[in-house]
């Protein structure tokens, strides 16, 4: 994952505020947190910044494996214990008779499922870290002793 400084160095660094952030640094932070997109800095779209823009895109690419929320799951680390499935508040709300009470999910509205002994994530847009009323939720990260769920 790139650092904020790396991203900042590639921005126009004029603090022109066109993007709506008060400084380029603030925009870099938002880029890293995946709350803003590169094209929202319109000055960088000019030919002069072509190289910087490409570099920025490539830096932000590795976590393209991550979902829009920034979630990455590592099935190779997962032991299939199901802690995340049961702990995620979205799963609890969407499957009150299944995942919420410790059983395997009974429908497809949940975020986490164990398939063949490994975790898979779907419906990620439902994650509380995403959308307008986002909160910094840790309910699936803390219960996983092997670090198989990560947000970048």
């Amino acid at each position: 994952m790139p650092s904020v400084m790396e991203l900042y160095q590639l921005l126009p660094r004029t603090n022109c505020k066109i993007c709506g952030e008060s400084t380029c640094m603030a925009f870099a932070v938002a880029l890293l947190g995946r709350k803003r997109k590169i094209i929202e800095c319109t000055p960088i779209l000019s030919e002069n910044f072509k190289k910087q823009k490409e570099k920025l895109e490539s830096l932000l690419l590795p976590s393209a494996g991550a979902e829009e929320t920034g979630m990455i799951v590592h099935p190779e680390l997962c032991t299939g214990c199901g802690n995340c499935v049961v702990a995620c508040p979205v799963d609890v709300a969407n499957d009150p008779k299944g995942a919420a009470v410790g059983h395997a999910p009974t429908n497809d509205k949940v975020i986490f499922k164990i398939v063949d002994g490994k975790v898979i994530a779907s419906n990620i847009r439902e994650c509380r870290r995403f959308g307008k009323n986002r909160v910094l939720c840790y309910a699936c990260i803390d219960p996983c002793p092997v670090g198989a769920i990560e947000f970048v």
Binding site: C81, V85, V86, A87, V101, G102, A139, D142, P143, P145
Partner: protein
Amino acid sequence: MLFGWSNSTCEAQINGIRLAKKMGAMIDDTSSFCQGMLIEKVLQNKFKTCSLEEIRDKADVLVYWGSDAQDSEPRHLSRFSYFPRGQMRQRGYEEDRLAIAIDVRESNTAKICKGHFYRISPKGDREFIFALMDALSGKVPSYEPKKMLELAAIMKKAEFGAIFVGIGLTYSIKNDFEILVSLADMLPNFNIMPMIGHYNMRGFNEALFRETGFVNRVKFEGGAHDAKYSIVEALRTKSIDALLVVGSDPVSSLPRSLLAHLASIPVICIDPCVTMTSKIATVTIPCAVAGVEAAGTAVRMDGKIIELSKILESNYPSDERILTMFMEAL
């Protein structure tokens, strides 16, 4: 000796006990070097205990003691203890439950218990129990006073607590459960849950207890119960000259020093899998996998009877059936 049983159905276990009785043989199971004594205390009602469903629905303070449930019983935390929402615990683990780990190393369970991991030195459990008892009775304990008083305060406030007794604790206090009984007596809101590895160890313990009043280490000839009838002692003193092994792999789990005698006597092994024991056995009889290829029942760690169903056809007979055929042949 007839040995094993923890990975067999209750029906096979009962047949095994009958067979041992008929032959006046010794019978023992893996619990004799595991949690057998703890189960005996539970069956003698020495502890307050409860069901796993009650823990899910009511428990607010969970103590994993000498037990790495996350790795040894991988669905324990997610299905019954820490993470599920229960009737009286609707707000999730972060708000409604507190999990504590007491262990000699930072196990995966301890990692999950984060701020409430009490690391003790190996064999330090006894000292820890006494210090906790001091703290609970309002005395300042000599061992880690600040941490012990903090732990005692948490435990006193519990509405419905559970202590998951792992084999780490059992080994460390050398089966001297009286001190655990004394501790439990000071914690009226706590339940003791024996943490068992094999799926039906408790089933065997209960069946033999009903028959003889003991959970393991029995010799039917003379109706005696003694440490010398444990698999470990029987092999060490070379007092057995033939061994039937059902649903267990003693060659993998016993100390190497005992294996020479095991390898020198006739061994009959009944198991669905190829194991180290089946490889050296004089006769191996493969059987169906219970819960997959054969039906039956098993007893969960909390004493609940679980029905196992047959979901696949198989050409192998169940271990229960094989033991019935032994009886007929005898």
